[in-house]
């Protein structure tokens, strides 16, 4: 380790270069061209996981639709755990944000009359999901990336891996990051930091999420004393391919696909989700909310009505009746995936599917402007929990969330940064300590013997068994103990790769330490929520408990042992808690 640490200073720093990060960067640049902006991403921005999103992004556009309808669908979809003031702001700002993307060149698919097209989606009463073929997230991300390049005040730090936040005198003042190509450790000082690092699906074994989804930003905030909200709410998407976990988009069902059990029966009709009709009916059957569909799968397994495969139990998604022409036009990517990864053609065969971990409703606690309780620290996108998704997210709300809250957080952070003094001395000391820590605990350590890959697999299996679709006290406790054991064993981890150049093992190791913290928060929040709501289902507490638990879980990190859990009441404005009704 030679020479003084490389330091740079900016006004606003984005950690993460996906949809939320790039939208926020653009918002800062447009609001205040005098501010200097940096985006630090551990991968090239267009590799961010936003790129995988297929189905669409929701915003009210049809004349027969209304903001109140979108709000109600979202709130009931979230089993009343959504903060209604946040939802109202979200549905109001959504159409404008989506239209702005058209002005930036995003090629939204069209209706026959040449206007922007919308399709129906799960849990939504009226069609409001905008789409660009079946690669909506992809087109949005590329549009945002190219637009962000127009601003000379934005500096991109591609393949820089952030390891911690710098916090001094009660405010966040930047980060420490490793430049992966060279291994050089940098301190990036900033007057405001916006976390846009996405979710943490890789904490689980079977997930649609890409390798990078390790929840780094959540862990950084958590360690800086910011609570993580609603971590127990993990979304299982009902239709993932069995071995790879690759997602088969909800659009397959909104175009008319059916879910069949091993007897060829559309089993969702047994679960209070409506009656089967030949054409898709909104908010009914296959267009019900994701949590209810995934839960139905588990029940079918218990009844012995699913099909055994070498990669676990599956049901089948049937799109044969849609015909080859429609599939090629509306679902070409689905067909390609099935041919490439399952060696089957969905035009003629059934697609095997099962629920797969997909999205994190929970995350860093923020207000409706994206501000966390720590001054100078903001968060937007899947990493944050505002909360607009509550206990269960509706499909196509997430892509819109990136735009609305990316913009909000960007604007709030700009205002804050413009009023801040210079950074304090304390942060440079912290940065140097971090560099020493990385060397001492990882790059130069001798002894140890625990392997990153082994610990990671054990963590993923513990989460899969204890924090699945249905949970109970003993399962959660067992996993909690396992996670604690893994945290202890992590202290003895040793790396084989000690080089500075592109050290992927070091990155995997730091990501693992982030994930272990998050795993603990998920389990403990789940233990303390003794009710069933949305995606968190307790077989030992099967009813929703509005009297005591119409509240968010806040997980605060403690020095040793499990996090401390507090509860924060949900903000209710115009929609008092009601029954979630689908199919009737």
């Amino acid at each position: 380790m030679a020479g003084p640490m490389e330091t740079s200073s900016h006004d606003v720093l984005l950690v993460g270069g996906g949809g939320a990060g790039l939208r926020a960067a653009i918002a800062v640049a447009e609001m205040n061209p005098g501010l200097s902006i940096a985006v630090a991403s551990k991968v090239y921005p267009m590799r961010s996981h936003t790129v995988s999103a297929e189905g669409g992004a929701a915003a009210v556009i049809k004349p027969e639709d209304s903001l109140d309808d979108h709000a109600y669908d979202t709130i009931s979809g979230g089993d009343w755990l959504c903060d209604q003031d946040a939802v109202e702001a979200f549905v109001r700002e959504a159409p404008e944000e989506m239209l702005r993307l058209e002005h930036w060149g995003c090629p939204w698919s069209r209706e026959k009359d040449g206007r922007i097209a919308v399709r129906p989606f799960g849990g939504m009463k009226i069609e409001r999901t905008w789409f660009a073929a079946d690669k909506t997230g992809f087109h949005m991300l590329h549009t945002l990336y190219q637009t962000s390049l127009k601003y000379p005040t934005v500096t991109m730090h591609d393949e820089w891996f952030v390891t911690r936040l710098l916090v001094d005198e009660g405010r966040c003042q930047g980060v420490v990051a490793i430049e992966l190509a060279t291994g050089k450790v940098h301190a990036i000082l900033a007057k405001a930091v916006i976390l846009c690092t996405g979710g943490c699906g890789k904490v689980f074994h079977f997930t649609t999420n890409a390798n990078i989804k390790t929840g780094d930003g959540m862990a950084f905030a958590y360690r800086a004393g910011v609570p993580l909200k609603d971590m127990e709410f993990v979304q299982y998407h009902p239709t993932g391919l069995p071995f790879t976990g690759i997602l088969i988009t909800e659009a397959t069902r909104s175009e008319g696909g059916w879910l069949l059990n091993k007897d060829g029966y559309r089993y969702l009709q047994d679960y209070d989700l409506g009656k089967p009709e030949p054409k898709p009916v909104k908010r009914s059957m296959e267009l019900g909310p994701r949590d209810r569909l995934s839960q139905a799968f588990v029940k079918e397994v218990e009844k012995g009505r699913t099909t055994e495969t070498p990669h676990g139990q599956v049901v089948h998604l049937d799109i044969r009746h849609l015909g080859g022409k429609l599939i090629e036009a509306k679902l070409p990517f689905v067909r390609e995936l099935c041919l490439k990864y399952e060696n089957l053609d969905p035009v003629e065969e059934l697609i095997p599917v099962r629920p797969v971990v997909h999205y994190k409703m929970g995350g860093v606690h923020t207000d409706i402007h994206g501000a966390t309780p720590l001054p100078g620290l903001y968060a937007a996108g899947e990493v944050a929990c505002v909360s607009i998704n509550g206990a269960n997210r509706l499909g196509s709300n997430s892509l819109t969330e990136l735009l609305v809250f990316g913009a909000r957080a960007g604007k709030a952070a700009s205002r804050f940064a413009a009023a801040q003094p210079r950074s304090t001395r304390g942060v440079l000391v912290q940065a140097m300590d971090e560099e020493h820590r990385l060397h001492r605990e990882f790059l130069e350590k001798t002894g140890g013997g625990e392997r990153v890959s082994v610990l990671r697999t054990e963590m993923q299996q513990a989460m899969e068994s204890g924090a699945g679709i249905y949970r109970d006290e003993s399962g959660l406790r067992k996993s909690a103990d396992k996670i604690q054991e893994l945290q202890d064993r992590f202290k003895n981890v040793s790396l084989d790769d000690r080089s500075r150049t592109f050290n992927t093992e070091l990155v995997a190791c730091l990501e693992l330490s982030n994930m272990l913290d998050l795993a603990g928060a998920i389990i403990q929040s789940g233990l303390q929520r003794r009710e069933s709501r949305g995606a968190h289902q307790r077989t030992d507490h099967p009813e929703r408990d509005d009297a005591n638990l119409l509240a968010h879980s806040l997980a605060f990190r403690t020095e040793t042992g499990p996090p401390r859990i507090e509860h924060l009441p949900v903000t209710i404005t115009r929609w008092p808690p009601g029954e979630r009704v689908y199919g009737r």
Binding site: E102, D113, A210
Partner: protein, 245 residues
């Protein structure tokens, strides 16, 4: 089924390296990327490789497998004959950082030269799905840079920076053919991106994992526009007379 395969992988950096053989157990449905990760997990944790989505969407894992540029996550192991070693090398046209990781930063420099989308103010924002399809095809590009890697102008003749490469010709096509775009990038094509260097060999189209018809749908129409603008004497005369673009 305990079948094994041999992967012969490049280990080294820009100063040099060697090919090392690894025996890897093979199971049904495995792709080359799974094999590389198996090596990373069990045998050699310091192997350098970029990968992420494992679903052919993020463009991270481009490499050359038995000489062909491919995404490793889309390359099934059962395509290869059981007895033969599978040779995995980094992309040839870009400097090597470590093992299978290339320095692809030059591509981002080229991208900066291309003016962004500019919304036209003289028409209503309505166009057909057919027009959307045309642009959606080009914009499907996941920036894996396999086309840049394989194009002989860059690969063998090393004509950076005079030639921007197929990826950027596709990007320009996605902008120029967008019905709502009002910017003109024809001069850029001629001078900065050197579209004249392309001689329609179509290797780019062959390796594109998104099956974008790069040459036929993007490059040839752009070449035609260029010719119309700069090299067609009748068109030049017409424009002088009528004052139209």
């Amino acid at each position: 089924m305990s079948r094994e395969a041999t992967l012969r992988v490049y280990r080294g950096d820009r100063n040099g390296g060697e090919m090392i053989d690894y025996r890897v157990p093979v199971s049904p449905g495995m792709v080359v990327l799974d094999a590389i990760r198996s090596i990373q997990f069990h045998q050699s944790p310091d192997i350098g490789v970029r990968w992420n989505c494992k679903a052919g969407k993020c463009g991270s894992c481009g490499a050359e497998v038995n000489g062909r540029p491919r995404l490793m996550c889309m390359d099934r192991m059962d395509r290869y004959s059981p007895g033969e070693p599978i040779v995995v090398r980094p992309m040839k046209s870009f400097p090597i950082v470590k093992d299978l990781v290339n320095d692809v930063s030059w591509n981002f420099q080229v991208n900066k030269k291309i003016p962004a989308f500019k919304m036209r103010s003289d028409m209503e924002r309505r166009f057909s799905q057919e027009e959307a399809d045309r642009v959606q095809e080009f914009r499907k590009c996941i920036e894996c840079f396999l086309c840049q890697n394989v194009c002989h102008v860059l690969r063998d003749h090393d004509l950076k920076p005079a030639f921007g490469g197929p990826r950027f010709l596709v990007r320009v096509a996605g902008l120029e053919m967008h019905p709502l775009d009002g910017e003109d990038r024809t001069e850029l094509l001629r001078k900065d991106l050197g579209i004249g260097y392309c001689n329609i060999t179509k290797c780019c189209t062959e390796v594109c994992p998104e099956s974008i018809h790069i040459t036929d749908n993007a490059i040839i129409p752009l070449k035609e526009r260029l010719v119309d603008r700069f090299y067609d004497p009748l068109a030049l005369l017409w424009r002088k007379v009528t004052g139209k673009r």
